[in-house]
Structures are given as structure tokens and as C-alpha cells.
Symmetry: C2
Subunit: 305 residues, 2 copies
């Protein structure tokens, strides 16, 4: 699919565009991940199993669509998309461990520690995180080392205690505590929102875009992240296991604080739609070139898996 | 302690110099690690607990001593030393987990998952890895972004499947298999050697040193890593728990492949000394300025903890 397909928005639907990005990023991931060999082959097999198992590839799509606004070559945005997907995969591997969310299913398949073993799963996650930063720091990602360092800093900040890891810590600590809306919002903004924000910020960074464009995409990504996470909580509350490719209904069973548990199902639905609308408002300065980003905001709240 | 203390070698003993570096890197770590606050405070407490628990700080010492050969400002080498120590600490946290080496003691204290819990320990390790790359990518580490990217690439490669994680995978896979010298050597070169090599390479990279100097330090670090790891296996085989600050004799109890199990105790001792001598030979081009690196090669084989 051409880049015009992503940024034009009239010739392909967002679902087709996401499918095309998913195939493209899978090819890049396949090339960037090491090949199993030597006595350490098992951990490489586990990395490939967890990372090449499909998924919507929403984050790489956001990188590619936001980069498309600034005429960034596709090869660069796909590398950043692959890096973010490595971090996303590592977080799913570790979150599924018995000591964390204890989930046996992921994307409709046995989770990594069920397919391999716990030690291999922990190590596979660790190595995926390292590889993500190696990919970002490589000159193929961008000829300007200053931009590469900015991407490394942003991804590190988004995945550490102020982002993904901090959010997961809050999630675990809030289990069974009847946490209120404030805690749930903070948890999701960190656990899921920070990497969605990174994905939308990577485009303008790769394209050396002016501050106003960066701010507009940051505002967009904040609303998008909330819409996405509320929709995720709704899917877990009402979904069935096959649809979402993981064990559904676990949030309630584990006493997790979710938007559904603090707001109720219908108010949560309305709120997700409101955040999707607010996300689109922030794209006005980009005119028709941002149609794919507009459509993906609606997609994340309308999806059934 | 002045930098001359590190590179001069006549005024202070290597033990004094290591103690001074340890104090300096602890101050930098204390400043770089986040402060516990918010509902995610627990994971930050675990990161600080595991990272500020002392230890020899051999890797930061190697960074500082190798950087001193090229007149690198101390603030820069200490930041790189702090980053490598974050990666080292994360690896110890994860290695101690029940699913891995299942160790209750680390540096004479309860290991991270015993002091906190398994989930918090996994997350603390994950966040420490992210923070290490954030520190390296920051402009305070070096004004030249190309050099910062090189450090990120090197640390990522040294801690992934071709380095530390790959070595730990081999270590786990080799348990109870009567692995031979080839596997044990490969395992240690990856598990411990890769980060020691990074530490000795960071100095010439920070100092934009010529290729011949980089190669000499790479050769030195390879021999040093072997000397260090053989000595470590000897300490485990004959040590007592208090001395080495972790549970001794576990290698044999777990059927681990070690240099002692494949070579025997006395031949292992001779081999460690031989590697320490070989390490020193590679320092000839640096004259008296490399005395601290010479002495640390002897220190790692003579240490009792």
C-alpha cells in the first residue's frame, strides 16, 4: 500500500490500511528479530513467537500515519513501529506471567510462558526491550543521531515508571481496592496511554515537525489513548474469549479497577465516544491528510476485538 | 578522588580507587533514580532497594578507568557507569526470581522479590532497563548525539540475546546437562563478559579514541571477563554465604555448569591467573596511565568476595 493510502484516507478504509501496515511491520519485525541458533535459541524462539503472533499493530499504524503527515520515508516509520511493537510485546509477555495477571491465553494462543516456560518468557521480554532500543539507535532509523536519541529518550520515558511500568504497578496495587476514577484514569494514561502517545509523537519527531504540529498530535493521542482503554475495558466486561484473543472477564474476576467498574457500562460507552470525538478535533490543522488518524479514533471505540 | 588517582595508579590502591568510584556512582544513581511517589511508589522503592544496595561497582570502575585514559570528564563516565549498573541490577533482580535461579539472598540482603514481591521485582527490573537507555541518550552523557547512539547500541547489543540474556538462557538450559568447557565459556562470555566488554569500550567511545586503542581495550576486557567469571565460580564453590553476599554453593546444588565443574578447582585457579596476566599484556600501549586497569585484573582473581 502506498503512503497516500494512509494519509489520503479516501481510497482505502482504515481497516484495509491497518491490515497493510500490519503486514509491512511484520516483515520488518521478521528481519530485525534474531534467528534461532546456538544453545540460546530457545529465548529467540520465544521472542519471535510472542512478537510475530499477529495483533492489530495499532501502535505501528499510529507511527506510520503520524509520520505520513510530514513526508517521512516509510522505511523509517516502520522501524520505529517495529521497535514500539517489541516493547508492547515484551510488556504483554511479562503481564501474562503467573506473578502478574496470570493469563494463559494471548491473541488466541497460549501465552509465552505457557508455550515455553516462565524463565524463558522473562528473558524473552528482557531481550525484546533491549532490541527495541538497539533498533531506534541504528542509523537506518534516521540519519540524524539527535533525532534517534530523542526517540530513545521518549520510548524509555514512556515505558518506565512514569509510563507503562508505573501504570502496571498501579494496576496490580489497585486490585481489590475499589479504586476510583482518578486512579483508574492515571493507571491507564500510564499503562497504555504513554506508548500510544509515543507512537503519535514519533511521526513529528522523525519529520522534524514544528512545535504546534507536535502539540496537536500529543493532544490527539491523549484522547485516543483514553478512548482506546475505555473500549478495552468494555470489551473485557462483555467480550468473549475468542473475540478478543485473550481471557475475557478477567478484570472483574481479579477485582481489577476498570472504567466499567467505576463508571458502569453505558456511561463508559458514552465516554469512549466522547474521547474519540475530542481526539478528532485536534486534527483540524492537518485537513484531509489526517483522515486515517480521524478514522482510527472511531475504529478503536467501534472495534469488537 | 581525582581522576589522576584512577589513571596514575601510584597514589592510591585499586581497592581505595574502587571504593571512591563506588561512592561517586552511588551519588549519581541516587540522583538519576526516581523518588518514590504516587500510587506507583512501590516499584520505585524496589528499583532503589536493588540498585543502591552496594556491590563492588566493578563495571562503573572499568568505565571510569578506561575513560580516564582519554581525558573524558568524570561526570560523563559516571553517568555511563550508572547506566551499566542499572542494567546489572535489573539482571540480578530477574536472575534471582523463583522461575530463574530462585535466590533469596543478594549482597547479604533479601533479594528484591523477597523484600517486595515477584510482580514488583519483575517490573522494577523492566523499569531499570528502560532508565539505563534514557540516561545514555541524555545530552549530559555526551554532547555528541552520535556517541550517545553508539553507547545505546553497544549496551543494547551487550544485554540482549547476543549478550547477557543469551548467556542466562544458556545457563538455564545447561543445568544438569554436564555441559563441557565450550558451552561454559560461551555462556560466561555472553552472560557476564558482554557487559564487562561494554564497560571497557565505553571509555574509548566517550573519548573518541583511535581504533587501535579500542581494540587493545576490547582484548583486555575479554581476558578480564574470563578471569572474573572463573574467580566467581571458584568463590561459589568454596565460599561461604556471608563472604560473597549471596547463597554460596548453589551452582553445584542446582547442577550448574561452571568452570570449576568442568576444569576442577586447582586448574580453574591457574586459568584465572593466566587470563589476568593476558589481560595486562594488552595494556602495554597505555604505559603507566593504565596501572589501575592492570591492578583490577589482579584484583578480580584475588578477591575473597
Amino acid at each position: 500500500m502506498s503512503e497516500a493510502g494512509i494519509v489520503g484516507g479516501t481510497r482505502v478504509s482504515v481497516v484495509d490500511a491497518m491490515t497493510a501496515t500490519s503486514a509491512a511491520v511484520d516483515r520488518v519485525l521478521d528481519r530485525l528479530l534474531p534467528r534461532p541458533s546456538g544453545p540460546e535459541a530457545r529465548v529467540i524462539e520465544a521472542m519471535r513467537y510472542a512478537t510475530l503472533a499477529g495483533g492489530k499493530r495499532l501502535r505501528p499504524f499510529l507511527v506510520r500515519a503520524s509520520a505520513g503527515l510530514f513526508d517521512v520515508p516509510e522505511a523509517r516509520s516502520l522501524r520505529v513501529g517495529a521497535a514500539i511493537e517489541m516493547v508492547h510485546s515484551y510488556s504483554l509477555i511479562h503481564d501474562d506471567l503467573p506473578a502478574m495477571d496470570d493469563d494463559d491465553l494471548r491473541r488466541g494462543q497460549p501465552s509465552c510462558h505457557k508455550k515455553f516456560d516462565e524463565a524463558t518468557a522473562i528473558l524473552a521480554g528482557d531481550a525484546l526491550q533491549a532490541l527495541a532500543f538497539e533498533v531506534l539507535a541504528h542509523q537506518d532509523t534516521h540519519p540524524d543521531a539527535g533525532i534517534r536519541c530523542e526517540l530513545v529518550s521518549m520510548l524509555a520515558a514512556g515505558s518506565g515508571t512514569a509510563g507503562m511500568v508505573g501504570g502496571q504497578m498501579i494496576d496490580l496495587a489497585a486490585e481489590g481496592t475499589q479504586a476510583g476514577l482518578e486512579i483508574v484514569s492515571r493507571m491507564h494514561a500510564m499503562k497504555t496511554g504513554a506508548l500510544i502517545t509515543f507512537s503519535c509523537a514519533a511521526g513529528p519527531v522523525l519529520g522534524a515537525a514544528p512545535p504546534a504540529a507536535r502539540e496537536a498530535l500529543a493532544d490527539y493521542s491523549r484522547e485516543l489513548g483514553l478512548a482506546f482503554q475505555i473500549a478495552d475495558d468494555i470489551l473485557d466486561a462483555e467480550g468473549i474469549s475468542e473475540d478478543i484473543g485473550k481471557t475475557a472477564g478477567k478484570d472483574a474476576a481479579q477485582g481489577k479497577a476498570t472504567f466499567v467498574s467505576v463508571l458502569g457500562l453505558e456511561p463508559a460507552r458514552h465516554r469512549a465516544q466522547a474521547h474519540a470525538r475530542a481526539a478528532r478535533v485536534h486534527l483540524e490543522r492537518f485537513d484531509g491528510r489526517a483522515d486515517m488518524l480521524r478514522e482510527v479514533a472511531q475504529f478503536v471505540v467501534d472495534r469488537r476485538s
